[in-house]
Amino acid sequence: MALNDRVFGVLMLVLAVAYGWGATQFPEPFGGAESVGPETFPTVLAVVLALTSLYLIVKPDPDNAWPSGSLWLELIIAVVVLIAYTLLLQPLGFVIATTLAVGTLCWRMGAAVLRAYLTGLVAGVVVFLLFTYALDLPLPWGLLGVLETS
């Protein structure tokens, strides 16, 4: 089966049409229409993408294997960790957020729990000190803000 390329081809075809339609909706630039407006280049791109998508739908390559169920879970965990890291970077502060994020990633990739979070902590502290003091680029203190003044 060669479903992947077909599905991707259809998605990209939809994108090409939407993008091409979007180009026709641009307001006319001030000073009237010229031979080349803001829509010219996008229109060319939409046509190129549409043609190549059609080719993929007609002549797809053989599929690559997708990960199995539990691996999907691992991948989703990794992405969730990255999003949570971004979310918590400000409120928790760099060191705590990094310990949690790097630790969880190491652990899920196969490291022992304690060593994983220890790696996260050490990496977080080293990078924090390096950035804040050596490079003069402040990273968020977060919950550890009490230490800042002392």
Partner: protein, 504 residues
């Protein structure tokens, strides 16, 4: 003679103490990046770009450091090829053939030393080639008009997949996607395009965020999927026993490899992989039965290493003179140039002569530094190689986060980076190449500008794009570049695969 004067000025820039220091740091980091599995040169340079920014480095210093990283990464790729039989990047594949057998025979130190010397010679030859060729090409490129530039950009995309590329249609598709992303934002007529009223999109999508996301985050996901976190046990490196005579015996091989590599690097569509492949194959042909290739012949280590380092310096020629990179890593270097507000291309040789020649001089100096670093410090690199990816990749990801965060202190950029990473994972699964996307992001604005100029002058007549002889020539090469992979690609890939046996 003019060139020589410029070069001397260049040395003046490159030899300033702080530039020299950053070159050394870059060379060290580069070797590390090249050596560590799962951290290819393009990926590594991409992660370091935001850091170079936030450090507030001068343009010349930033460029010198990252050029040194680039050169170092090419040196480092061989370490994991020889010791682990895992090529650090694609061009290092051929080095596995004789390097790993040498290591198994207990000659790892010799293999590493020989390949360091061969890399040095390959780079040196190619850098001299660069010095001679680049000014000529830049002068020639000054005759290009807007239509020729547009054709040149098309050529760059068409040949990016390389002769060994798999599916040229996917390359074009990737290029279109990249160019489309580049159109987001306010264009130069003041029209908002595809911003959907989101304030953060008005200025367009920062390509550095896209590059780091596509490379670094997708790499992490791939490692998780392959459950490759444990890594492989490292080889023990023996004590070095290498005489001058052994090194001298390698010189002809290294020399041939360097020249071939340089040519492969300059030509569009060939690239470093082909450079190392051709050098290895030729060496085998020349020596014939006198060699024992595939079983640990030192010349089988020297030839591909000289070839791939020659090619990587050669690849800087089109990047510096035309502003059109031929490989993923040079594309990332181009990203650096653009973000430093330096317009790449022929004018750079006159407008920013100090920077260009400073970089070229830094490349020469970097080479010597790398040779000095690589022979005595090889033990440190070998130690670091044994750090398993399960610790390494999360830390690398964190460094990527810090880099992006420190540019703008905005969480929005980080979400974008993660989104690009997830997108990159799916694209890689579908074998849509990422490099054309990045090149599209980088070249999009310039490409559109040139199209607009060409058409405005001709009053909307599209035939202007292929009206000059030069433009027709460029279009023809582009078309050949797209068709050739169909014809020779399968054969070449088969031969490379058959020889290396590494396959993936």
């Amino acid at each position: 003679m003019e060139t020589l004067n410029y070069l001397i000025d260049g040395f003046g820039v490159a030899l300033q103490p702080h530039n020299l220091m950053f070159a050394l740091l870059g060379a060290f980091l580069g070797t590390l990046i090249g050596a560590l599995p799962g951290l290819g040169p393009a990926n590594g340079v991409a992660i370091l770009i935001p850091l170079a920014f936030t450090l507030g480095l001068q343009p010349d210093t930033a460029l010198i450091m990252l050029t040194a990283v680039y050169a170092g990464a090419m040196y480092g790729g061989r370490i994991s090829s020889i010791l682990l039989n895992i090529p650090g990047d694609e061009p290092a594949m051929m080095t596995c053939l004789d390097g790993y057998p040498m290591a198994q025979k207990g000659k790892a130190a010799e293999a590493l030393a020989i390949s360091a010397v061969a890399s040095f010679i390959g780079s040196l030859i190619a850098t001299i080639g660069l010095i001679l060729l680049a000014p000529l090409l830049a002068r020639f490129a000054l005759t290009f008009g807007a239509a020729e530039y547009f054709a040149l950009f098309v050529l760059a995309f068409a040949t990016l997949g390389g002769i060994t590329g798999k599916n040229p249609i996917k390359t074009i598709m990737a290029a279109a996607i990249g160019l489309m992303i580049a159109t987001v934002g306010i264009d130069n007529t003041g029209t908002q395009r595809y911003t959907f009223g989101v304030l953060e999109l008005y200025e367009g999508i920062d390509f550095i965020i896209a590059i780091v996301g596509l490379f670094a985050i997708s790499e992490l996901l791939f490692f998780i999927e392959e459950r490759a976190g444990g890594g492989k046990p490292a080889m023990v490196v023996n004590k070095l026993k290498l005489s001058w005579r052994d090194i001298v015996a390698m010189l002809p091989t290294s020399f041939r490899g360097g020249v071939l590599g340089f040519i492969a690097g300059v030509l569009p569509g060939a690239g470093a992989s082909l450079g190392s492949f051709i050098s290895y194959t030729l060496e085998k042909k020349i020596l014939g039965k006198k060699g024992y290739f595939g079983e640990g012949d030192p010349r089988g280590v020297a030839a591909p290493e000289a070839g791939n380092n020659g090619a990587s310096s050669g690849a800087l020629v089109p990047m510096l003179t035309l502003g059109v990179p031929g490989s993923g890593t040079t594309a990332v270097l181009l990203a650096l140039l653009i973000s430093l507000n330096i317009t790449p291309g022929p004018l750079m040789f006159t407008q920013n002569a100090d920077i260009v020649w400073g970089v070229i001089a830094a490349l020469l100096i970097g080479n010597f530094l790398l040779l000095l670093l690589n022979i005595p410090l090889v033990g440190i690199f070998v130690k670091l190689l044994s750090v398993p990816p399960m610790y390494l990749l999360p830390i690398v990801t964190m460094v990527a986060f810090v880099g992006i965060y420190s540019i703008s202190n905005s969480a929005f950029d980080l979400y974008f980076m993660v989104a690009f990473g997830v997108g990159g994972y799916f694209l890689r699964k579908l074998e849509i190449p990422l490099v054309p996307i990045i090149l599209g992001l980088l070249l999009g604005p310039e490409m559109e500008k040139n199209l607009r100029h060409a058409l405005d002058i001709a009053d909307g007549d599209w035939t202007v794009l292929w009206s000059s002889g030069l433009a027709i020539g460029l279009w023809s090469v582009a078309i050949v570049g797209l068709i050739l992979p169909y014809l020779v690609g399968p054969i070449l890939r088969q031969r490379m695969k058959g020889k290396s046996g590494v396959g993936d």
